[in-house]
Amino acid sequence: MKKHAKNGNVAIIGIGQTSFSSHKEDQNQVEMVQEAVINALADAGLKIGDIDCIVHGNMELFEMQFAPDLWHSLGTGAYGKDEYRITTGGTTGATLVCAADNLVASGLYGTVLAIGMEKLQEGNTTGGITNMADPLWFRNLQTGALTGTTSDGACAMIFTSEEKVKQGTKNPPVWIRDHIQVHREETIPNLFGFNKPEMTHHCAARTLFARNGIQDPVAYFDVFEMYDPSAWWAVDWLREFFLLKGDEHLRMLEAGDFDLDGRIPINPSGGVIASNPIGATAMLRPAEAALQIRGDAGGHQIKKEVRHALASGFGGTFWTVLMILEKELNWQEVNHD
C-alpha cells in the first residue's frame, strides 16, 4: 500500500452557500454563483483579490449552457485569474474539492476558490440524466436516475496553504487530510448480475483508511456527511463506507448509532435527499462536514465535539469520492525537503 504523502497541507478557510430551492426565478445563473462566492469570501474574511485561482464545475446539459464558466466568470470573480473547469457528473462538487486540494498542495497556487452550481430548474433534469446513457443503446431504456429533490443552488469553498493559515484565518481552519476518487466503466446493469464486484464505495474506503492508518472508521470519525441520493441506498452504503460485514449496519441503525446523538451521526445537514443541486451537491458534503468541525453548523450542529469528519460524493455509474477532514494537523506524512 502506497503511503499517503502530500507535498503541502491544505485547509478549508471559507464556506458559502446559497439557499436551495426548486424555484429561484429571482436569480440568473451568474447571480446565483456570485451569491455563493460572496458568502464564501465573507466567511473567510477575504476579498476576491486574495484568490489566486478559481475551480468551476457543474453539468452543462442540465442548463444547456456550453462552457458555462465563461459566462459565469461574471459571478465567480475569475477575471484576471487562473481558472480550471472540472466536471465528473454527480461527483463534480467533491472532485472540485479534491482538485482545489491538489492545486494548493502542489504549491502552484496559494489560495483557491472552488464553486459548484446547478440551476436544475432551467433544464429538464431527468432528460439530462437519461442523456448520460450511451445514445446507441441504453438511452431508450434508462429512466430518470435522479433521486433526491430537484434543486437550484450553489456552494463555494476557499482553500489555502498551511503557510497562509499560519498568518491567521478568520474562522478555524479545517484540514483536508486525504481524498480518493474511484471511477468505473459506463454500465450499471453489470452491478446487478448474480454476483457483484466490490463496490466502489468499499474500494475507496478500504484504500483511504489503510493508507491513513485508520483501523476502525466507526470509532475514528465523529460525523459522516454522505452523498445519499436515496434513503435505501444510504442505508446500504453505510456498510460499504464503514467496511462493515453482513447486516451489522442494520443493527447499528436500529441501535441508533447513526442518529445525530449516536456513535457516528450521518448527515446532520439533511443530506442529498433534502436538496440536490447536482453540481454543488457533492461539495456540500465536505462543506457541511467542515462546518461541523468548526462548530458553525448552527441549528444542525451535533452535540459532541467533531474532530474527525468523513465526507463522500457519488455520481456517474457508481463513481465515488471520499475524503477525510480534520480539526488538527494530526498526521505526519507531509513531505518536507
Binding site: N7, L74, D82, G89, A105, P135, V182, G316
Partner: protein, 382 residues
C-alpha cells in the same frame, strides 16, 4: 522528498480527420492508450502504475451528460481516480502537473477526445456558450465573434489579405509533413484569397476545418520519469487567465488574458525575456489572423507588430506551428493538447520531416471562448 518537476514521458496522437464516421471516440482513445503503453510500458498497477487519469472532453460535443462516463473503460479508469477537465485540453496538462506536484500521484495519464463531426453544427454548440438572454439571441458564435476581432486586429497591425493567405499557405506546407494533421493539401495564396467569405474578413481557408481527434500523454514525477523514457520533456511553467465575458467589455486586440497567462507562466519558468529564451511556439490559431495576434500576446513581438513579425521571418525564427497548427485541423476543445503534443515531440526530436534543430525551450498555447476569452500557456523544456 517533494517532487519539483514533472515530465512528459510520452505523447500519442490519433490522426485528425474531418469526419471519422466509422469510429466511436472510444475506439480512437483506445488506439491512443495502446500507443502510449507501447512507448512506455506503463501499467495500471495499484502500487506502481497509473492511478489517476485526467481526461478532457465535453458534454455538448459528445452529446452526453458526463462525457467522461462513456470513456472511463478506455481511459483505464476502472476502479481508479479520474477527473475531467472540461473543454480546454491544455488545462488538462496544467492540472495533471499540479496533481503530481501535490504528491497525490507520481504518474498521470492525460487523455482528450472530441468529434466535431458528430454534431450537426459546431457553431450551434458555440452559440450555446453565450448567455441565453443576450449573446445567443443576437446569434453570436465563435466565428462571428472572431470576425469582430479579426477586423479590429487587421486594422491595428496592418495585416492584409496577403498576410492571411501567407499564413494559410505556410500552414499547409507544414501540415503536409505532419501525418496527424487533418488539412494537408498544399494551397496557393490565390486560392486562399478566392475562398468564400464565412464572416467577413474571415474566409473559408482562414478557418480550421471541422475535425475529429484524440490525443494522450503520460506525465511522471521527476523521480519516476526515467522508468518510462530517456527523453523526458519537462514542464517548466503553466498558467492561464480569464478575460471579461462580454465582448464589449474587452479591447479585442489587447491580449489582456494572454499577456497575464504568459507572464505568469514565464515567471514560473524563470524566463526573463521570452524573445531570447523561446525556440519554438505552437499557438492555437483557429483562424489565420489569430497566429500573429497570439504571438503578440506571448510577447514575441510588440503590440500591433504582428504583420511586421510575419514580414521579418518571425515564424521561422520562433518555429511557429510546425505541426500545421490548429489551422490544419484539430477539434477545438483539445487543440491545446495537440499543441503541447507537437511541442513535446519537437523537443524530443521525434517530429519527423518537420523536426526543427537545436531546441531547448518551447511554448504551447491554447484558448477558449469567444475571441479568446480564456488563454493557457505551457512552457516545456528539454
Amino acid at each position: 522528498m517533494a517532487t519539483k518537476r514533472v515530465a512528459i514521458c510520452a505523447v500519442a496522437q490519433h490522426k485528425n480527420g474531418s469526419d471519422l464516421w466509422h469510429k466511436r471516440f472510444q475506439g480512437m482513445l483506445l488506439d491512443v492508450l495502446e500507443e502510449l503503453q507501447a512507448q512506455t510500458g506503463f501499467t495500471f498497477d495499484e502500487e506502481t502504475g497509473v492511478n489517476t487519469i485526467v481526461s478532457c472532453s465535453d458534454d455538448f460535443f459528445d452529446a452526453r451528460t458526463i462525457s467522461d462516463n462513456g470513456v472511463a473503460d478506455v481511459l483505464g479508469a476502472q476502479y481508479r481516480g479520474e477527473e475531467k477537465i472540461a473543454q480546454e485540453g491544455l488545462n488538462a496538462v496544467g492540472y495533471a502537473q499540479a496533481v503530481i506536484l501535490s504528491g497525490y500521484a507520481d504518474l498521470v495519464l492525460v487523455m482528450g477526445h472530441c468529434k466535431e463531426s458528430q454534431s450537426e453544427s459546431r457553431r450551434m454548440i458555440a452559440n450555446m456558450g453565450f448567455d441565453p438572454f443576450y449573446g445567443r439571441a443576437v446569434g453570436l458564435d465563435n466565428l462571428n465573434a472572431a470576425a469582430l476581432q479579426a477586423r479590429a486586429y487587421m486594422k491595428k497591425a496592418g495585416l492584409t489579405e496577403e498576410h492571411l493567405a501567407g499564413i494559410v499557405v505556410r500552414t499547409r506546407q507544414f501540415a503536409a509533413r505532419n501525418p496527424y494533421a487533418n488539412a494537408r493539401e498544399i494551397v496557393e495564396a490565390g486560392k486562399v484569397i478566392a475562398s468564400p467569405q464565412l464572416c467577413d474578413p474571415i474566409r473559408q481557408l482562414h478557418a480550421y476545418p471541422v475535425s475529429d481527434g484524440a490525443v494522450g500523454m503520460l506525465l511522471a514525477s521527476e523521480e519516476r520519469a526515467a522508468e518510462f523514457t530517456d527523453r523526458p520533456v519537462w514542464i517548466a511553467g503553466f498558467a492561464n487567465c480569464m478575460d471579461s465575458y462580454f465582448l464589449g467589455d474587452r479591447d479585442l486586440t489587447a491580449n489582456f488574458a494572454l499577456k497575464q497567462a504568459a507572464g505568469r507562466a514565464y515567471r514560473k519558468a524563470g524566463i526573463a525575456d521570452p524573445r531570447k529564451e523561446i525556440d519554438l511556439v505552437e499557438v492555437m490559431d483557429a483562424y489565420a489572423y489569430q497566429q500573429p495576434l497570439w504571438i503578440e500576446g506571448l510577447g514575441l513581438c510588440g503590440d500591433g507588430e504582428g504583420a511586421r513579425f510575419l514580414d521579418q521571418g518571425g515564424q521561422e525564427k520562433y518555429r511557429v506551428n510546425l505541426s500545421g497548427g490548429m489551422l490544419a485541423g484539430n477539434p477545438v476543445i483539445i487543440a491545446g493538447l495537440y499543441r503541447a503534443a507537437e511541442a513535446a515531440l519537437q523537443l524530443r526530436g521525434e517530429a519527423g520531416e518537420r523536426q526543427a534543430p537545436d531546441l531547448k525551450r518551447a511554448v504551447a498555447h491554447s484558448t477558449t471562448g469567444a475571441a479568446g476569452q480564456f488563454h493557457s500557456v505551457l512552457i516545456l523544456e528539454r
